[in-house]
């Protein structure tokens, strides 16, 4: 068969999907929120002149004003600057967690749909990991790995892999029984080829949707870890750290803890909206939530 028409069709379909996405209202809102945050995070040094960690005691506890739009904290650090640098870390942790848990989960899910013996063992292991709430597992793992960004990423990924693996496995188990897989097998396709060319691509929709939601959970969970004192250690400006540090001054200097919380909520909301849009577009069977 000639490959060209097939390719053309695929790109046409892809274009139609993108157009549908671009018209989806919640996707547009979510995408805009995340885009603004990503740009602000990347351009952080250009947006603000202050240093996110250097202390200037003289300027402590300044309420929001022109020079410090979000006010300053007990060490005279500009909250706006800290929130923007915090966005770097939070978005980075969210993205890495979504990618790492997505890739690993996809691999494990497809493997376990293809090899039944492996499946029995792996799914029991996943069940065991899910015996603890994700956040609790992540707290334990981060404590073991130490107060670093990489620990948080690994801990959150491990916590979310079981759910992703289950979703990919469920999709691959359905695909596996379809006729074209049989046809591929008759044509001499290896297990590896079937997994890579058929099972994985057909699980892409649910995988992408799930990863978007993992991104959102990861932002919330990272903030909670930092707040509990097991995340990246202060003075690293994570959103959770800023709130934890501002907690004792929450009554008199409310601005310290207010703005990072708004940032967490916006980022999570943005990712959730994005995920809803992706789900409606990529998985019409699930198109129930507008």
């Amino acid at each position: 068969m000639d490959a060209a028409p097939e390719l053309q069709l695929q790109s046409k379909q892809r274009f139609r999907l993108l157009r549908k996405l671009a018209r989806h209202r919640s996707f547009r809102i979510g995408f805009s929120i995340i885009l603004v945050m990503v740009v602000a995070a990347i351009l952080a040094p250009a947006i603000t002149q202050y240093d996110p960690v250097a202390m200037r005691i003289r300027l402590r506890f300044r309420p929001p004003q022109a020079a410090f739009p979000f006010g300053t904290d007990q060490f005279g650090r500009d909250i706006f600057t800290r929130v923007i640098y915090g966005a770097r870390l939070s978005l980075w942790i969210g993205l890495s967690t979504a990618l790492l848990s997505g890739l690993t989960g996809a691999m494990l899910g497809v493997l376990s749909a293809q090899y039944r013996k492996f499946d029995a063992l792996l799914m029991r292991l996943m069940d065991a990991l899910m015996a603890l709430p994700a956040i609790l597992l992540a707290i334990g793992l981060t404590a073991v790995l130490g107060p670093f960004t990489s620990s948080v990423i690994i801990a959150l990924s491990v916590a979310y892999i079981p759910r992703t693996a289950r979703i990919v496995r469920a999709s691959a188990l359905v695909t596996r029984e379809l006729e074209f897989i049989e046809a591929a097998r008759v044509a001499g396709a290896s297990n590896f080829r079937i997994m890579r060319r058929h099972l994985l691509p057909n699980a892409m929709g649910p995988l992408l949707v799930q990863s978007t939601f993992v991104f959102a959970y990861a932002i919330l969970a990272e903030a909670a870890l930092s707040f509990l004192g097991v995340g990246p250690s202060p003075p690293t400006p994570t959103w959770g750290n800023i709130i934890a540090e501002g907690r004792d001054h929450a009554v008199d200097a409310w601005w310290i803890m207010l703005f990072p919380g708004v940032a967490i909520s916006l980022a999570t909301l943005g990712m959730n909206l994005l995920g809803d849009g992706l789900r409606d577009t990529l998985d019409p069977r699930l198109k129930v939530e507008t």
């Binding site: 029991r124 292991l125 069940d127 065991a128 990991l129 899910m130 015996a131 603890l132 709430p133 994700a134 956040i135 609790l136 707290i139 334990g140 793992l141 404590a143 073991v144 130490g146 959102a216 919330l220 903030a223 909670a224 707040f227 509990l228 004192g229 097991v230 959770g240 709130i243 907690r247 929450a250 009554v251 409310w254 803890m257 207010l258 990072p260 919380g261 967490i264 909520s265 999570t268 909301l269 959730n272 909206l273 809803d276 699930l286 129930v288 939530e289 507008t290």
Partner: protein, 314 residues
């Protein structure tokens, strides 16, 4: 039915064993020597060595694992280092707090979440639907600890309605108990209401599209009976399926919320143990948590089998 229950119980055995091994391995990877942590960094090397022997840390890992399993089989979950108390009794002591919080939070979550979901589905694409769905989405996007602090500032500090922190047992009166728990319970419930409302709405929409609803309407069954008897009951089936997730969210959320409100519950115990590197405490608490969780999930599945015959025979 009986066969289904037995099968489910059998499936749980490897899960529990693997879970226990995971927890053991995890905690033995902890950086820093627990013996040093207990004795203090200025302790004499002999003292540290003695503690190490006491804890069995000088023996091979597999031997430690075997010994640990032996103790578990006797119901011994270890002894906390900072509390000087058995982990089991420490957990049992704090159980009423976490149970009270979970119970109250569920009482708020379940009716509210289901009702909002049903209303949104019934008046699909109306302003009410949009309002419910937007609130649900905001509910699952707010960090609970932040919301908790804001709530304390507003309701405890400014208005003075509720105590800002701490727990009062129900034996000292219903109101003191309720006023200590109402803020954390509502904060905890918000996330789950959002989650439950979204699930209920999509389940209800699925049911409303089914032929038997059209049939009911066509044969003149009044709208209330159609919704409450035919649609709502079938909506509950997928909703029961997610009760495990709700429970997981509830327990996970309580770890964070208990911390903000200084509630002496199990979640706070775990965080305390982790920060103090009290690893027998962390190990034991996580195990008890995990075991109860597996047990509750089995229970949910059995209820599910009783409610929905298709699952039983499928």
């Amino acid at each position: 039915m009986l066969r289904g229950v037995a099968l489910r119980l059998l499936q749980a055995i490897p899960v529990v064993v693997i879970f226990a091994v995971l927890v053991f391995t995890l905690l033995h990877l902890l950086p820093g020597d627990p013996a040093v942590a207990i004795a203090g960094s200025e302790a004499a090397p002999e003292a540290i060595e003695r503690i190490r022997q006491q804890l069995g840390l000088d023996r091979p890992l597999l031997e430690q694992l075997a010994a640990w399993f032996g103790r578990l089989a006797h119901g011994d979950f270890g002894t906390s280092l900072i509390l000087n108390q058995s982990v089991l009794s420490a957990v049992v002591e704090r159980l009423p707090v976490t149970l009270s919080l979970s119970f109250l939070s569920l009482t708020i979550t379940v009716p509210t979440g289901i009702m909002l979901g049903v209303l949104a589905a019934y008046w699909r694409n109306s302003w009410l639907d949009s309002l419910v769905m937007v609130s649900a989405l905001v509910g699952v996007s707010l960090p609970s600890f932040w919301l908790a602090i804001l709530s304390v500032i507003f309701f405890s500090v400014t208005l003075g309605w509720f105590p800002p922190a701490g727990y009062t047992p129900i034996s000292q009166g219903l109101w003191p108990w309720l006023s200590a728990l109402i803020q954390p319970a509502v904060v905890l419930a918000l996330f789950q209401i959002g989650f439950l409302a979204r699930i209920t709405r999509s389940a209800m929409l699925d049911v409303l599209d089914q032929d038997f609803i059209r049939t009911a309407r066509a044969k003149g069954v009044d709208e209330w009976t159609t919704i409450s008897k035919h649609a709502f009951r079938n909506t509950l089936i997928p909703v029961v399926t997610v009760s495990g997730i709700i429970l997981s969210l509830l327990i996970g959320g309580s770890v964070v919320v208990e911390q903000v409100f200084a509630l002496p519950g199990i979640g706070r115990l775990i965080v305390q143990g982790i920060l103090a590197r009290d690893y027998p405490l962390v190990q034991g608490t996580m195990l008890i948590f995990g075991f109860s969780f597996v047990a509750i999930n089995i229970l949910v599945d059995i209820i599910y089998m009783t409610v929905d015959p298709r699952v039983r025979f499928g």
